[in-house]
């Protein structure tokens, strides 16, 4: 018995000791290398992106990858203050992060905003009461993503193609209300697709319902890639090059067309988490990400390619990787992607203005159930 008790106690002790070692923050274990933590979408902490920064500042970046803004918010909210230094989030969630008081105000002077194209210098989703809360990292356009075997580019010039007979049960939708209702709103010709009065909002929901019989399923990020790749779905509204660009690299016959009714813009930005203990390092990191080198890494991200907002970034991309610059239409001479914005064909994806977020969400749940 005493033997048994001894071994039990010993077991417990070593277990606790092991637990204690595991529970010790890595910071204590490795004094010289600093750590910068990051809450981010997939792919942004790949070694080819952050490697140069890590080496230059003798820092190790530890990233927590998320796949939905709501999970990200919950993770930040319920973790101890200071857990996450840098947050990469969609503009809609930057606004939620700001309202929930989860991000630090930034100093305009720390970042080279002069180098940004004019439309991105005072980006609406990043400024609150004249304070800056996020730095614009990259963006892309959302239109109609389609399989070219099923839907030609010219057919895709009109969102109404989704209602065609041959696309019955072949339309997929990204499982989030904003891009989908936003697209419906564009189809309805609303000049500000997220700023709708009651009648216009009702009209958007009614139009959406007519599309419902064409819809095969509702997909997350990974599901969207698989469904478009396998041909499970032939068209998806509110999706962009961040999906089809990746699939093209893999040899898929897919494309994103911005129909004549216009497209939406998604935007992801970097913020500093409230209570971060590494604010100096976080600031340096954001500066690195909008430096030409960081911008090129971002534009050619393995997880999803996207356009970047800085002139120097465009210049370096055109120099290093002219093919990708051309593919994404980031040409410094002649026509380029920015012309779409300047021509008023692109509207920002944003939170609903006149309705609450939850009423759009409710409508979406109802729509999926219809």
């Amino acid at each position: 018995m005493s033997n048994f008790q001894y071994s039990r106690r010993a077991l417990l002790k070593s277990g606790l000791a092991a637990g204690a070692v595991l529970a010790t923050p890595a910071i204590v274990r490795a004094q010289e290398v600093r750590e910068l933590t990051m809450l981010t979408w997939a792919g942004h902490a790949d070694p080819e992106v952050v490697g140069p920064f890590e080496r230059a500042h003798n820092v190790r970046i530890r990233a927590k990858e998320y796949v939905g803004g709501d999970q990200m918010l919950a993770q930040f909210a319920q973790s101890p203050v200071g857990t996450y230094d840098v947050i990469l989030a969609d503009a809609e969630y930057v606004s939620q992060l700001y309202q929930a008081d989860y991000i630090e105000q930034l100093d305009l002077a720390d970042y080279p905003f002069d180098d940004f194209f004019p439309e991105f210098q005072k980006f609406e989703g990043h400024w609150y009461d004249d304070g800056l809360y996020a730095v614009f990292l990259h963006f892309g356009f959302l239109g109609l993503s389609h399989n070219l075997d099923a839907l030609s580019r010219s057919e895709a010039r009109n969102y109404r193609a989704m209602w065609q007979e041959n696309l019955r049960s072949k339309v997929g939708q990204f499982d989030w209300h904003l891009p989908n209702f936003g697209t419906m709103s564009l189809i309805e010709g609303n000049p500000a697709p997220f700023d709708l009065n009651a009648a216009a909002w009702q009209q958007v929901q009614d139009t959406a319902l007519t599309l419902r019989p064409q819809v095969r399923g509702f997909y997350d990020y990974g599901g969207t890639l698989s469904a478009l790749r396998s041909g499970e779905v032939a068209a998806m509204p509110g999706i962009g090059d961040w999906i089809t660009g990746v699939l093209q690299r893999d040899g898929a016959n897919v494309a994103t067309t911005i129909p004549e009714q216009g497209g939406l813009q998604w935007t992801e930005s970097l913020s500093i988490g409230k209570g971060s203990r590494n604010q100096d390092l976080a600031r340096e990191f954001i500066r690195y990400m909008i430096s030409p080198r960081g911008q090129v890494a971002t534009a050619t991200l393995k997880a999803y390619p996207a356009m970047v907002p800085t002139r120097a970034g465009w210049a370096m991309l055109n120099e290093i990787n002219p093919n990708e610059a051309a593919r994404q239409n980031m040409s410094l001479s002649g026509a380029n992607a920015l012309d779409e914005i300047r021509a008023g064909r692109i509207q920002l994806r944003r939170l609903p203005v006149q309705q609450s977020l939850e009423s759009w969400n409710d409508a979406w749940v109802r729509y999926k159930n219809a």
Partner: protein, 288 residues
């Protein structure tokens, strides 16, 4: 004397506590804590996307007044009940073979092989099933070659069912095989010797005797399918609105965790009620 007996009693108590206390303590700390927080959270409010401790009934009244709540509830309940029944039927011949037609030593190997996939990443297995069911996948091509439609089977109940089966078959197989293995063989032999037909033995001796295990199999298949989320998303394509899907959908209305907590509590209540009824029925005295 009394000092001694008090000492002995104390030692006995300590001995008893050594065994009886650890699990309740661990669960009180690390399970009841979160559970109570979950219950409390259903009364919290959300202000500026921030979960705020409060005593508000708004999440409850919101969820309970959703017009599609009960249709979702019953769809969820019905789909998992059907899956549980089908999986049990699917597993029964296999369990029967393992219990009666295979030697006990082999039976262990088969049970082990039946359990092995259960502990291989479920996510991986569901993702792999897409290749069998999706556009141009194994099954559609097979169907096409025999002159059937050859359309993708994803986002159908068939796909969802296969997902549920992937999740629950191992447990059901093990429970059924154990139940059948414990059926009193002397009673079976006696019935056969008295001239009972094999069908009669199956219906009147084997099935009643194995009832507890068979019912537990249905129950576990139901519990697991009911809370299932991954198949519903990746094989069902999100077109079957079940409670776990509704739960994640609600959160997206701007950090509405209190509402998700309400749905969770409803789900738990339904599961516990079902479990109690099933267990009571499974262990009901014979002859009723």
């Amino acid at each position: 004397m009394s000092v001694l007996s008090a000492k002995v009693r104390l030692r006995r108590r300590a001995w008893f506590a050594l065994w009886a206390a650890p699990l309740p303590i661990w669960f009180a700390l690390f399970f009841m804590g979160p559970m109570l927080l979950l219950i409390a959270m259903s009364f919290w409010s959300v202000q500026n996307y921030r979960l705020t401790p409060d005593f508000s009934l708004s999440a409850w009244s919101y969820v309970l007044s959703l017009d599609f709540l009960w249709s979702t509830f019953w769809r969820s309940y019905g789909l998992s009940l059907i899956s549980a029944a089908l999986v049990s039927l699917l597993a029964f011949p296999a369990s029967y073979a393992m219990a009666f037609l295979i030697t006990p030593a082999r039976r262990l190997t088969f049970l082990g092989l039946a359990l092995a996939p259960f502990f291989t990443s479920y996510l991986v297995r569901i993702y792999s099933l897409q290749v069998f069911l999706g556009e141009g996948g194994v099954l559609p091509q097979l169907f096409h070659s025999v002159g059937l439609s050859g359309a993708s089977l994803l986002n159908s109940y068939t796909a969802l069912f296969l997902g549920h089966a992937t999740l629950t078959l191992p447990v059901v197989l093990v429970l059924q095989t154990l139940a059948l293995g414990n059926v009193d063989r002397t009673e079976m032999s006696a019935a056969v010797n008295l001239g009972a037909r094999p069908q009669h033995v199956l219906r009147h001796i084997i099935l009643p005797a194995a009832r507890p295990g068979l019912s537990l199999g249905v129950l576990f298949a139901f519990l697991l399918s009911y809370a299932e989320f991954v198949s519903a998303t990746y094989l069902g394509g999100g077109v079957f609105q079940t409670l776990p899907i509704l739960l994640t959908d609600l959160i997206r209305g701007g950090q509405q965790w209190p509402r998700a907590a309400v749905v969770s509590l409803l789900m738990m209540a339904a599961l516990m009620l079902t479990s109690l009824v099933t267990v009571a029925w499974a262990y009901r005295q014979k002859g009723n």
